[in-house]
Each structure stands twice: as C-alpha cells, then as structure tokens.
C-alpha cells in the first residue's frame, strides 16, 4: 500500500504542473474565442518564454524581474507576428480552417529549429524566484515555486476575466469572436483585435514557460509536450472556456502525478489520455463547456 502522504504530495505537485497546463489551455481559448482558430503554435510560446528568460539571465546577466519583463512582451510580439504574417492573410483569403491550423503547426516547427540553431539543443534551467523552502504543511512539502505558480495563475485568470468583461478592448475582442462583420460595422478594427488575442495568448504561454522552468527545465522541444497537455486541458475543461481549461489543467496534472506514483513514470501519458477519453465519453462538451446547440 502506498503511503497517503506520498499520494498527497503527488496531488500537490501535480496540481502545480496542472496550473501550467491550465495557463497554456487558456492560451488556446483566447485565440479560439476571438478567431475560431486552434493555434498549434501555442506550445512554442511556453518554450520561448523559458528560453528567452534563460538567455537574458545568463548572457546579459539581467536580474530575474527585468529578464521576465522583457521576455514576456517579446513573446507577445512573436504572437502578433504570427497573426499578422500568417493567420491574417489566410483569413482574408478565406483559407479553410485546417490549412490555417497546419500553418500554425509549421510555424511551431520552424521556431523550434531556429531555436536549436541559435541557442543549441541543451536543456536549460534557472533558479527559483524565491530561494529557500519548501514550506512544510504536515506530511507534505510545498515548494516556494509552486506558490509562485499558484498565485500567478490565479491572478492571471482573474485579470483576464476582468479584462474581457470590463475593458473596452476586452469586450471588442469578444464581439469579434461572436460576429466579426457586426463588430467591424461598429468601428471596431477587427484585425487589430485578432492581433490582441494572439499577443495575450503568447504572453500567457510565455508566463507559463517562465513559471515552470525552475522546477523542470526548458529546451527547444518542450513546446510540443506542453502544447499537447494544454490542448488536452482545454478540451477536458470544455474548449473555449477559460475557467474550464484551468480546471482541466489541474485534473490532468493531478491524474498524471498520481499515475506516476501508482503505476510508474511510464504511465504518465496513458493517464493523461485516459482522462481525456473518460471526460470525452462522460461529458462530450467538456467539464465546464457549453452544450452545443446542434
């Protein structure tokens, strides 16, 4: 029998990773809700966030806060560039959705290759935001970085909710999602709103990548696993629902961590996909997704 405190510890650590999946999942939702596009380059933002921060820390010797403050907007710009030069021209030409999705996948692979050529293929990591720890709560240990992850992700979800509900631009992005023609007819520059959604989503991915790197590592190829896990989180939660992606991420992270303890590390992916299949069978539109009308 496995000690309950070990399980409990796995749940805590799994939830921490799950929060990261949740952030990546929300990144998918932000773009999907504004444009109807599934952006398969989402994982690349996670990778870039970690790699850029690492580079700024080591080659320029910048303090963490400065490195982060530069890396996040920089990745946001990458998002805008993808929207501007690839997604928008394809939307204007009425390209079929699968072609746009394929194009984002191509971008992901290109950026990965460019990263190998410029930054090498070695895994990188940097120190936790706050030294010391972990915090002891009875039988379990909570690392300081996990607290950072928790505070940042909850804060981000809150901020995003406020942004979409109460700001002029946030509402305009939502309007574009519902009816692009009607939005343009009210003077809303639709193309710019789509760019906003890509910038936001890229920044979210970057933050996720920066938060997770100290407890794991980053490398040119971490984009795919995080992208896939985030995608599963978004689907489990109900694609398009930000709070759903958040919950989906936690469910996924916990399921993986517990599966590793009980069945061994090899079963991590099996657990993830089992969660996905189970949810899809029991809740066809995800845990918090809206039932589709059709």
């Amino acid at each position: 029998m496995i000690d309950t405190s070990i399980i409990l510890q796995a749940v805590i650590d799994g939830a921490g990773v799950g929060l990261i999946y949740g952030l990546v999942g929300i990144g998918y939702c932000v773009i999907y809700n504004a444009t109807g596009i599934v952006n398969f380059a989402q994982g690349v933002f996670v990778m870039l966030g970690g790699m850029l921060t690492y580079t700024l820390l080591t080659s320029l010797g910048l303090p963490m806060i400065v490195a982060v403050a530069i890396a996040i907007p920089l990745v946001g710009v990458v998002g805008v560039v993808i929207e501007w030069f690839i997604v928008k021209p394809m939307l204007v030409r009425n390209s079929p959705m699968f072609a746009i999705i394929l194009a984002t996948l191509a971008v992901q692979i290109m950026i990965e290759r460019i990263t190998i050529m410029t930054a090498g293929d070695q895994p990188r990591t940097f120190h936790e935001f706050t030294a010391g720890g972990p915090l002891r709560l009875g039988p379990v240990a909570v690392g300081y970085q996990l607290i950072w992850v928790l505070v940042c992700s909850v804060g981000l979800v809150l901020l995003l909710t406020l942004f979409f509900k109460y700001t002029r631009i946030g509402n305009a992005v939502r309007a574009c999602a519902q009816n692009r023609d009607a939005a343009a007819l009210l003077g809303i520059p639709v193309a710019r709103m789509l760019a906003v959604s890509f910038a936001l989503s890229a920044a979210l991915g970057a933050i996720a990548g920066i938060l997770i790197t100290p407890s794991q590592y980053t490398a040119f190829n971490v984009g795919v696993p995080f992208g896939v896990s985030g995608f599963i989180a978004a689907i489990v939660g109900g694609f398009g629902s930000a709070s759903g992606a958040f919950v989906g991420g936690i469910v996924l992270g916990v399921a993986q961590a517990v599966a590793i303890i009980i069945f061994g590390a090899g079963y991590k992916t099996v657990a993830a996909l089992a969660v996905l299949l189970l949810v899809l069978l029991l809740f066809p539109s995800g845990l918090l997704g809206k039932r589709s009308e059709k």
Binding site: A172, D181, A184, L185, L186, G187, I188
Partner: protein, 247 residues
C-alpha cells in the same frame, strides 16, 4: 413609365450624402450586383425594394466593404471606396445587418456599449440617453442576454446599438424581417422619427407598403440591377408596386 428619371430636381443643394456610381459585386463567377448607381441626399430616407435574391443585401454589404466590390462610393463628396469597414463606421456610415447581427451571448448593455466603441465616456452617456428615449424597452432589459430578447426587442437593440456609433447615414437591411406587422410598424415608425430629426437613412425592405409610407424616393432592384427609380411625387401612385416587381 420611363425606366429611369433624372434625380436632380427637388433635392437640397450640395453633393449627395451618399453617391454610388457603378458599384458591382461578384461571388465567385457570378456577378450578383450589376453596376449600380444610387444617391441619397442629406436628411433623406430612401428605400431599396426588391424580391428575394435581388441583391439588396449584396448592395449594402458592398457599400460597407463587407464583400469585395468594384465601383465608386462617395460619402459627403469624398471617395470612401478604399476604406475598410471599421473606418467607414468611424466616418459615420453604419449598417444594421440582415438578421440583426447582435452579439448574442452578451447582454443588452454590453451590445449598446460596443456600439459606442469609438466614442468617449461622455458621448456614450449622451447617446445612451437618446436611444432609451427612442426605445424605452431597452432600458428595462439592460442585463438580459441579447439572444433571449423577443424579435422586436432584438431589432430595437440592433438599431439602438447602431445609433450609439452616432451615424450620419444609417443603412438597414430588412429591419422588419420576421416581425409581426404591429411590431414591424413600430420599428419603422421609430425610423421615421430618426429621419425627421435629420438622419439620412437607406432602408432595404421587402415589405414595400411599409417602406413606401416613409420613403422620399425608392429604388427597385431585381436580378442585381436597378430596374426602377421612383421620385417623391410618384411614390403615392405606386402602392401597387409589389405587383410591379414581383410579376
């Protein structure tokens, strides 16, 4: 009856508010809108009539650049044919889409506020007060999801939201579509009121009798082509116009 009549008489001075020359549009290979001329003067309410599939929607969408179009569109004498849809809106041309185009999962209030996307906070308050005067029912339903409004209320919201953008010229694509006659009449009465206050209106309608009660001039569109222009004086004698263009 001549096919076209010159429209120089009885119109207020200066250039038309909206002037369209040779505007045409194609979907794929099909030229759905043949080169079309149309003008609307300051303070006028002009109606575009025509049966299903005549190209009425295509015409207004071409004006707003929601479909690719060739030809000239002048607003207050200025060529606006190269502007994007949202810039046309900023200039003061706003279209109420066929089927209303509401942001269905958003509340009445959110829809209204989005109408004033380009406005300042003060302007927003002033305009809100004005549309609540016109459609008091919107004020009672501010926090209701717009998709759950009745058809008539939805149309009021669509028009109210368009007015929030403070248009100089309002285009409406079949605002009476799917409404009970009494409700349709109520909507059109409100449009008449707006026009009396000086707003230029281009009203696309299938319900000719309703539209002709309000309109100063009318264009009849069939198969993508203007087949008839009616001047103010002629409208009265054309209440049987439906028979004319449906036959």
């Amino acid at each position: 009856m001549t096919e076209t009549t010159p429209m120089t008489e009885k119109t207020p001075s200066a250039a038309p508010l909206l002037e369209i020359r040779g505007l045409s549009a194609t979907y794929g290979q099909v030229r759905v809108l043949k080169p079309t001329n149309l003008s609307l003067f300051e303070g006028e309410l002009v109606t575009v009539l025509g049966p299903n599939g005549a190209g009425k929607t295509t015409l207004v969408r071409a004006i707003m650049r929601l479909v690719k179009a060739q030809g000239e569109v002048r607003f207050k004498g200025e060529d606006v044919g190269r502007l994007a849809t949202h810039d046309l809106a900023k200039r003061g041309i706003v279209l109420v889409l066929e089927g209303r185009g509401l942001f269905g999962s958003m509340t009445v209030q959110e829809n209204i506020n989005l109408g004033a996307y380009t406005a300042t906070r003060v302007e927003l308050q002033e305009r809100r007060a004005r549309i609540f005067e016109l459609f008091p029912r919107l004020k009672e339903r501010l926090h209701q999801q717009s998709a759950s409004l009745s058809g008539g209320e939805q149309q009021m919201l669509a028009i109210g939201r368009a007015l929030m953008a403070d248009p100089k010229l309002l285009l409406l694509d079949e605002p009476s579509l799917g409404l009970a006659p009494r409700v349709a009449a109520e909507i059109l009465r409100a449009l008449g009121q707006l026009n009396k206050a000086g707003l230029g209106i281009l009203l696309v309608e299938q319900k000719a009798p309703l539209a002709l009660k309000l309109a100063r001039r009318a264009y009849v569109l069939t198969l993508g082509r203007v087949v008839k222009e009616l001047e103010a004086g002629e409208i009265g004698s054309h209440h049987d116009i439906a028979q004319y263009y449906f036959s």
